[in-house]
């Protein structure tokens, strides 16, 4: 509660700071607010749960995910100092909207009532629609915002319909009550409930960018401002997965839902990895890589194993660190290359900025799942879960896809370590950016030797 209030108030304060032209104080205030939130959550101060008449419950996972998302947002805000330095107008709104979106994220990782789930998703999404169009002079950015909005509303429609049907079948919005209801063997074959579940999951799967609900993500990732793309692929993805897991873990799922999840997993793994092979634009590549990771994350969930929560959290933490860092490096390289996004802009990075190149290497290796990085441990745990759940074939398929995936990350690595043919613009790295890149680069290795678990 206290955290939610603090974040919302900080958002409003940011708007006012912008109103009075205090640009330099924006990121600092935002970071201070986020750190305050982290402190509140970590110490558990005034974390009275359940909240709002029992529709929000700050349990262990909710707190952990909140910390993760707030931490990622801090990194992005630090990056924002440099990123928004040359933006003339409405900077405060960008920060504030990210905070509001984060509030939505916190609500859906802690919901215990389906109404809150829906509200949270909308609070999460609406600021994103605006943020995706943040570059007002860019046609692509506007297009991204429009597409995201239209398709997002569509998905909200699925979600609402699903929630309504679930309510119709069970007579409750309360997650625990629905869980009890679904555990009753007599309700195992309730068609309304099943249809409701499937539609709800489809609505949520849109946010995860799971195939076949992924169509928005490459366009939106590519068109949005890079900082927002990073925000979407880390904070929003974390929130969506946590909510997804929270939802299915609380229920006794009919077999058909398992089939649907498996189908989505296989499709997502396949499409994400295969299409990414042919991408040469880095942001599109990251979009498909993000879809591919969705596939691995789904694999962690399909078994319904009690350990999957831990694995999911660890995977998301590893993924978030690597993604944030890489998007920052992309921005810097893109700036030096006059706005180009082809992966060749990384060429010569090692010669020019060895440490940045090494950090990029670590993060790419982590995403590819090479040993001694967090990504490897994460994938390893996912595969172990897959095997433990008895999905041997699908796990082998996922392993094959992971091996395939190494290829397109290796392409980027090769570019970063190849010498540049002709002189290009120099790559300037502001101290704060350097700090965040270092944090992310070291983080993916540190996580590998010091794995984290849910409290």
């Amino acid at each position: 509660m206290s955290a939610l209030v603090l974040l919302s108030v900080v958002g409003v304060v940011l708007l006012y700071l912008g109103l009075f032209g205090r640009r330099t104080a924006l990121a600092a205030t935002g970071v201070a607010g986020l750190l305050g939130t982290i402190a509140l959550i970590a110490t558990g101060w005034h974390l009275e749960s359940p909240l709002f008449a029992g529709i929000v419950r700050f349990d262990g996972p909710a707190r952990a995910y909140t910390l993760l998302m707030a931490g990622a947002t801090v990194l992005l805000f630090l990056f924002g100092v440099d990123y928004y330095a040359r933006m003339q107008r409405n900077v405060a709104e960008q920060y504030a909207l990210m905070l509001f979106s984060l509030v939505g994220g916190i609500l859906i990782v802690s919901f215990s009532n389906l109404v809150m789930l829906f509200l949270g998703i909308e609070i999460l999404s609406i600021p994103l629609y605006i943020l995706a169009g943040g570059k007002r002079d860019s046609f692509r950015s506007g297009e991204a915002a429009f597409k995201y909005f239209v398709q997002g509303s569509f998905a909200s429609g699925f979600l609402l319909m699903g929630l309504a049907l679930v309510y119709g079948a069970t007579g409750s919005f309360d997650l625990a009550a629905i869980g009890t209801w679904s555990a009753d063997a007599a309700h195992g074959h309730d068609t309304v409930f099943l249809l409701g579940l499937l539609l709800t999951l489809a609505g949520l799967a849109f946010k995860l960018a799971a195939v076949p609900f992924h169509f928005w993500s490459p366009d939106v990732y590519e068109g949005s401002p890079t900082l927002i793309t990073a925000f979407m692929s880390t904070v929003v993805k974390t929130a969506a997965f946590a909510a997804f897991h929270r939802f299915i873990a609380a229920l006794h799922l009919p077999d058909a839902v398992g089939t649907m999840l498996l189908t989505m997993t296989v499709l997502t793994l396949f499409l994400g990895n295969v299409v990414a092979l042919r991408q040469t634009q880095f942001k599109r590549l990251m979009a498909y890589s993000s879809i591919a990771h969705t596939g691995f994350l789904l694999l962690a969930l399909v078994g319904g194993d009690p350990r999957s929560g831990d694995v999911l959290f660890y995977y998301l933490a590893a993924y978030t660190l690597a993604t944030v860092g890489l998007f920052i490096i992309l921005t810097l390289a893109k700036r030096a290359a006059q706005g180009e996004e082809h992966i060749r802009i990384f060429r010569g990075l090692f010669r020019e900025r060895p440490w940045v190149a090494v950090a990029a290497l670590l993060m790419l290796l982590s995403l590819a799942g090479i040993p001694f990085t967090a990504g490897f441990v994460a994938k390893y745990r996912v595969f172990m879960l897959g095997l433990a759940g008895g999905h041997v074939l699908i796990t082998f398929f996922a392993v094959a896809m992971a091996l395939l995936g190494i290829y397109y990350y290796a392409l980027v690595v090769r570019e970063a370590f190849a010498p540049r043919e002709q002189e290009g613009g120099t790559l300037a790295v502001a101290p704060l950016n350097w700090l965040v890149i270092t944090l992310c680069g070291v983080g993916v290795v540190a996580l590998a030797v010091w794995p984290v678990a849910l409290p």
């Binding site: 597409k147 077999d255 089939t259 649907m260 189908t263 350990r307 831990d310 040993p371 010091w450 794995p451």
Partner: protein
């Protein structure tokens, strides 16, 4: 210093050395780099010795947990080291022999401009090997296992400018990789069955399990072991691996890495005891390897190749012991073999060094006057490996053969044949290199002290190594066996149940026959140097043996050619004629669909919505039909 800290220090020192040397490789000279590397490995040896001294066999092994590594409820794989009799034995061998070889390398590599890199890789190898033997679970061992494979690849191809050397390195890598697949599959099976990868937990839970899965798991483990320990069918990489600098051959391909398979089998002996079928396979693979490799050794002309095939053959003896369940005998032979084979390789290196890179024994001879220390130590090594009485090799090999006799006289006879061949080719090597008259053009000179000191130390060990496990017959207590037995829980030991008379008869028989063989060799190679002529002139059978039973050619015909053919044709037909047009067709079709859709729709977003809806409907249909 606390035990935990010491235990962590043992692998940490070589690792630190590897990192430091890699970082400073441009700034350090060859001698400084070698000195640092040697000092660190020697430090690791001291730490191991302190651990050994403070180790109480009665108290049993202990696990030193360094880090929580992979931890999810129910899946707990720490980065932990296990200190028990088995790992201590291996640690002492690896660091002790390793330190001597490091020292030797200072002299051997002093002219190489990439010497610091060499020492960094040597240190990294030592680290990986220590991780392999000290790991408290399969995963840690596996990391060391892979690291050892990687370093061996790097070191074999160290002189990477020669293409054949690179080929040899690749071959070693691929062969090892086949074995690694076995290891991974075994790990998956064991994890699925026992829910853990910790050795002691698995051994606890496994006792009494009677399960076909055990056979599968142990067979996979054995596949892994054949890769590292160069057994049939994966042995062909080891002779080629002689392309690396000679100290590498000594360290990797004689003393340490190749014993990894033996170590792993001893480590998981409980599992193997539960799968008698696998044990029989090990027994016969070991026997076959011992004989095959020994026979190939008879006609080789490259000094290092002879030693390489002898290594493969000796490893075969170790696997025979494993197959018989005589684990302490296998470990004993690992130890003595580490001493005398390192000695022989380093001696060979010294000879090669003296002759300025010459490796062909047909262009050697009469060197005993010029390289005196090398000759005497090499002679000791040869006597030890041939198994003349009271040398270390005598005790360890005879122990294995006694166990073999206990199983079946036929097996004993086969191993005896192997031992005789060993004596023959080793003395052939000795006589052709050091006796007679010099047949080359170089100007031989004795090696520097950094190279001869290790030779002397190893020679002493080769003589005295037998004391480690002196049998009752000679007034000893089988000390090593009791040490291993008392402290390494989970390892089972079979006792030798032959009466004293039989033992004496067997030993005498072996000794007399070996003596006869040496006499024959002396006549053929020392008195007059009988050199092998051209392969084309040999009779068929001899040519077959000299050409290494044509195993390489067989593999090439069986695997390389068919796969090459398959991939060429798959590319030509499947890829170019079928897949590519198909993919292109699909791509074109998708583009055309896109164009069509664009014609109808005002923008892409609409198409996406439609696709999403269709996807949902298909998904729902599929799901609901499926349930």
């Amino acid at each position: 210093m606390s035990t935990d800290l010491l235990a962590a220090l043992v692998p940490a020192l070589p690792l630190a050395g590897a990192i430091a040397l890699a970082a400073l490789r441009r700034k350090l000279g060859a001698n400084a780099a070698g000195g640092l590397a040697t000092a660190l490995v020697a430090g690791a040896f001291v730490a191991s010795a302190l651990l050994f001294q403070g180790f109480d066999p009665a108290a049993g092994g202990r696990t030193v947990k360094l880090l929580d590594w992979v931890r999810v409820a129910g899946m707990d794989i720490p980065l932990a080291l296990r200190i028990d009799a088995l790992s201590l034995t291996m640690m002492l061998i690896v660091t002790g022999v390793g330190a001597l070889i490091h020292l030797y390398s200072i002299g051997y590599m002093h002219e190489d401009e990439r010497a610091p890199t060499f020492f960094a890789q040597l240190n990294l190898f030592t680290f990986a090997m220590l991780l392999l033997v000290m790991g408290s679970n399969f995963l840690v061992t596996f990391i060391g296992w892979e690291g050892v494979g990687l370093c061996s690849y790097l070191l074999i191809g160290f002189w990477y400018k020669t293409p054949e050397y690179n080929y040899a390195a690749r071959k070693a890598f691929v062969m090892n990789r086949i074995g690694d697949v076995g290891m991974v599959l075994a790990m998956v099976l064991l994890f699925q069955r026992f829910g853990t990868l910790e050795y002691d937990a698995i051994m606890d839970r496994a006792s009494g399990v009677n399960d076909p899965l055990m056979i599968a798991a142990t067979l996979f483990l054995f596949l892994g072991a054949t890769g590292k320990s160069a057994q049939i069918p994966l042995f062909t990489w080891l002779p080629d691996a002689m392309a690396g600098p000679t100290p590498v051959s000594a360290l990797i391909h004689a003393a340490t890495m190749v014993t990894a398979g033996v170590f792993l089998t001893v480590r998981s002996s409980v599992l193997f005891e539960l799968a008698p079928f696998t044990q029989d396979i090990i027994l016969w693979v070991g026997t076959a390897t011992a004989l095959l490799a020994a026979s190939i050794g008879l006609f080789q002309n490259d000094i290092k190749k002879v030693l390489a095939y002898s290594t493969v053959s000796q490893l075969g003896y170790m696997f025979v012991a494993l197959g018989l369940g005589a684990y302490s005998a296998a470990m004993f032979h690992v130890t003595t073999h580490a001493f005398f084979k390192a000695l022989l390789f380093l001696g060979a290196g010294s000879v090669i060094h003296a002759l300025g890179g010459e490796q062909d024994i047909r262009r050697m001879g009469g060197l005993k006057g010029t390289v005196r220390t090398t000759y005497i130590t090499f002679l000791i090594g040869t006597i030890a490996i041939a198994g003349l009485p009271l040398m270390s090799g005598f005790f360890s090999k005879d122990l294995i053969m006694a166990f073999a006799f206990q199983r079946s006289p036929v097996l004993f006879a086969l191993l005896l044949a192997g031992a005789l061949m060993t004596a023959f080719y080793m003395f052939r090597l000795l006589f052709l290199v050091f006796h007679g008259t010099y047949r080359g053009q170089a100007h031989p000179h004795e090696s520097p002290p950094t190279m001869t000191v290790p030779l002397v130390v190893l020679a002493v060990l080769s003589v005295a190594g037998g004391l480690l496990n002196l049998p009752h017959l000679f007034g000893g207590h089988e000390a090593m066996k009791h040490f291993l037995e008392s402290a390494a829980e989970g390892i089972r030991f079979e006792n030798l149940a032959l009466d004293t008379m039989t033992e004496i008869v067997l030993m005498t028989l072996t000794t007399v026959l070996v003596g006869v063989v040496i006499y024959i060799a002396h006549g053929r190679f020392a008195v007059k140097a009988t050199l092998e002529g051209d392969e084309a002139d040999m009779p068929f059978l001899k040519r077959l043996v000299a050409q290494r039973w044509r195993v390489d050619e067989l593999y090439r015909a069986l695997f390389e050619r068919p796969f090459g053919w398959l991939s060429t044709n798959l590319y030509a037909i499947a890829e170019n004629k079928v897949v590519a047009p198909l993919v292109r067709g699909v791509g074109d079709a998708a583009l055309r669909v896109g164009e069509t859709v664009r014609g109808i729709q005002t923008g892409n977003a609409g198409f996406h919505l439609l696709a999403m809806l269709c996807g949902l409907i298909l998904l729902l249909t599929f799901t609901l039909m499926g349930s």
